[in-house]
Symmetry: D2
């Protein structure tokens, strides 16, 4: 890759320097293994404070897929299933991880990757006896895999519906920070905690080297959860590594600052592109943008910048995907806009 | 813990500074995700060179339990089982991870945690038809969970036996460096690679923050192994983190230097304890020592140093376990020996 | 139930008397257990002859769901998936049995429960790397769950396509006899065997007390299949019970005679209903009919006959489902038509 | 096999004629499928009456392995294990069925296939944290796989112990009738029900064509158990087949009469063999006998009778296994004793 810069995704760099610093500063201190270290303990306290729930259980694991299937394998009985949008990460991009733990995903077609109570009800309506699985959980992502966000009203509706129907609500928060600091957002981290049964706070895509913080709200999920983590290979001997990430991210609200930065860079990039006269596949309130460019322009741009071609729009135009992150520099945005302006005039 | 020093285990500190340096030096370089980064690529090359097999496949994962069950779940058909010593990590200390992937472990009683062809043959003899599982793999640890090591002759015998009986041989190398640099060792890393079908090189317990390098020798195991890694939650978005560990460990033979240090510290500690007149539960050629002390002496020592009480020897004496590591200082050894000498005179 | 007759399904009665007779005649003969008895041996020979493939492996199990998941769990690696129509029995009516063995079903929307190569190709196109499952098998039912049948040309196309793409083709033949003797059929049992990698011949819905005969054509599937059967609880101690069913069904072509009868009764019933002026939800060439009646007429009919209301057609009309079987009597058909005629005049 | 008679096992014949008669008498009655038929309903009532517990849930399945793993998969969470004697059927002769549902079996070495609270306590003592599985159930067989039986006192002790330790007690009753009618027995079927959380009553080895009646006593196990049965392929479309077996067996205490007969034949056989001067490997109070004969005598006997050679006793003698059943005739016993007497004189 000899790109000036790449906008492939939000996990292209290592960790925010502040996170790395904690890792370095504490490196030679002797700690107890397997998550009973002082860093992990501190990280858990910071997270419980941030979500406003001192009774919650917090567990740090390495990866989002891991967080998803460990939680679902814990809360579902063998014949129970989870309802998710068909575009959901658990349904597509986890190589069948949930099914590998024995559970069916009832996928629901959506237009914008968000699901509503009416769609969940339809799944329930068609699952009435022992010849079918028994839907028991709903898994949504905030923001969704398409970068859309649930509003407070929408999340309240789903939450209320799930509680009435004895369905567990689990929120995949791989990019939770991005949604919480999006201009379209009216939810707080405390709302997420009070409206769901479990969720996870993604660190990997917001400045950590690795690490996702699973938060268990529902009492039923808590007992022996560490057994599940161990059995699924997610219990690190040096739990301090994960602890350091979340101490760094939650000590001085770095988590929110980094996500805010990513969103600001996206807004700046989006505005610039608009000013240059281009339109977008969809309005995105988060850090994923989908501008529509001519194929010839894309070809030229591709020699200078890294990004994915998302979808064809017409025979001569395609939408590309540009992702900003905590690490995206203003210089990179300015360069890209300059070059885009230049190239589009040629 | 206000211990002067603790000898609980070999994963009490973070990473060797050289490893941490690589992580820091490359931190803001943009890399492709999921293990296609330049660090991981380089780490794989270094490892393939070190094992003397350019055709091997190398995959980096986060934890030893993960390495074990992903390999076993890949190579076994649903009705196939793995033979292991009853003291094996997979049999006891992985919370049923192998069984959670659907496979039985045929455990074999041993005196020293090592198994020999004759014991494997007995398992085969009693598994003859479809009412029983079909043993298809043998999993041993080098060094074993008790700190003993297989000699070259012993490993050659097992390897030959397994190949004749169409059994796969998989070696759990969580502490592989320790065995390879032990005074009792006559095996090279290349021997390990040529005598087994798959093994892993443990990083976590030898100077890495986290990371185990799975090495697949047998062609049958290679196809689509990344699907297994992804499905089991072991594919890190920032694969560079794992890559950096193994670049650090294998660039200038640091891996062997660190393990050598751990063994030397163990030897020094062992000699000192012997000189003070104490005996040991067993002779250990590796970094785990089991000296026998009086219970009153243990009680005093426990106020100054961290260690586990391993087993009772008689009503008044117990064996304790002391573990050294890449990070153990000579000062810690000297302090411990001085204090032990002092306390034993009181 | 005080119905004159019921048309709920094709497994309302016990076994055809000829099958029961074999069970009785051989009852006190001493046999070897677990499927090594003379009846099972004979049944396998009869089936291999009927399918025209003496190299096939035949295994008798108790139930269709069992047959489906045992075959799929045998032929798929942990990360591999099976493609099936969304209406497929394995996708809906098996309580997540396939997922319980760890595998995802890639469901394909269809209009008539049949899938074509183009739809399979779309699934393949969207499954390109290790973040997704790897589709490896296609599972179709003949006849389908909606009573439609694949033509010889359609099945040849799917078979050719699957072989070119290294996909296994597995046919759920719970009602295979019905399709083979349907007026719409141009396939022979030998065609089924030569175009698929594995299939099963349903006994339960065609005159057996219980029993499905799994036929393995592909060499890869054969080794140690009995281990899978045993492990999944499907190996009956008195295998003779299953053997007797298939000896009865395949000794004198009873299997085809019974299915022919069921289809003839369906044709007679269908014609009679048409003559009375009613239309159908769909033309069915098999033993499931979906006549559309007024809701008031249905209410009256329901007091005399057993059947399921299938779907609403308009506010005043619904389609009901009537199923005939090997056991359906001409008298039952005549009575039903008489009563329907009578009630519709009221 | 041209044996005069064979004593291989207790499932060599079909069903007791009374059972077969019910199947025949009801054969053409139309019934609802999947266990909601009148025969199954009646069978459940008869069993609940026989066990003296009208609140129990009864479910009929086809095979013992199926009964075992469905119950265990229902009651255990993913990280929980079951304690069983190392000789247990679930540990050896089910091809890894329990592990295939994801659960470890903690096997306990025994001398006579029976386990006692002290042995269970040892397993609990060594399973203290999340690195190990969590033992949650105990599975014993009555009679055991070696033909021994638990006394009332022994079973009460285990039951009490399990309840105090929050362990579920599950009894594999594949040959339950044999133990209940053994001369060594002091337990009633009601005792079995009141002392366990779940058990099953084996039909296959006591006069049924197939069929095991799972009895769930513990309230926690009951909800949605039919989902588990369906998912594991154990829900027969013609549930009537299983219903007929247990109506036959429990209508007029046939179950107990048949088992009594098997035991009486065993006693008669045993006495005869003793009178001829032979000794036994062990005293067996049930229908499995292990007489010790010279190898030359065994060779001659093997030409006339079917039986397994169990184990070598010394270079010139071996123990054989003779099994009697509900179907064993007095004539077969007399013939065998006559021939044995004759052959031993030669």
């Amino acid at each position: 890759m000899n790109y000036k810069y790449h906008f492939f995704n939000d996990y292209s760099e290592g960790a925010h320097p502040e996170v790395l610093k904690i890792l370095g500063d504490t490196n030679l201190e002797q700690e107890i293994g397997y998550g009973d270290d002082t860093l992990t303990t501190k990280a858990k306290e910071l997270i419980k404070k941030a979500i406003g729930n001192s009774e919650a259980d917090v567990h740090l694991v390495s990866a989002g897929t891991q967080a998803n299937f460990i939680v679902l394998a814990t809360i579902l009985k063998p014949y129970e299933s989870v309802i998710a949008p068909s575009t959901g990460h658990i349904n597509i991009h986890e190589a069948g991880a949930v099914e590998a733990t024995g559970h069916k995903i009832n996928s629901v077609e959506t237009t914008n990757s968000k699901i509503a109570p009416g769609q969940i009800q339809k799944v329930l309506d068609s699952h009435h006896d022992e010849h079918l699985v028994k839907p028991r959980a709903v898994c949504i992502a905030q923001p969704t895999e398409l970068g859309t966000v649930y509003s407070k009203k929408e999340l309240e509706d789903i939450s209320k519906f799930c509680r009435e129907r004895s369905l567990y609500l689990f929120i995949d928060g791989a990019r939770l920070g991005i949604s919480l600091t999006s201009s379209a957002n009216d939810l707080s981290l405390k709302d997420i905690a009070s409206l769901s049964d479990a969720f996870y706070i993604g660190g990997t895509k917001n400045g950590a080297l690795l690490g996702e913080a699973i938060v268990l709200i529902n009492e039923n999920f808590k007992e022996n959860f560490r057994h599940m983590i161990k059995q699924q290979g997610a219990l690190l001997a040096k739990g301090r590594v994960l602890g350091a990430q979340f101490v760094g991210l939650f000590k001085d609200d770095l988590y929110f600052k980094l996500a805010t930065h990513a969103n600001e860079m996206a807004t700046k990039l989006s505005s610039g592109i608009k000013e240059l006269g281009f339109s977008f596949l969809a309005d995105s309130p988060t850090n994923q943008l989908f501008p529509i460019l001519s194929n010839s322009l894309i070809a030229k741009l591709k020699k200078m910048y890294g990004f994915y071609i998302w979808t064809k729009v017409d025979p001569e135009h395609s939408a590309i995907r540009l992702v900003t992150s905590w690490a995206t520099t203003e210089k990179a945005i300015n360069d890209f806009l300059d070059d885009l302006g230049q190239l589009s005039k040629e």
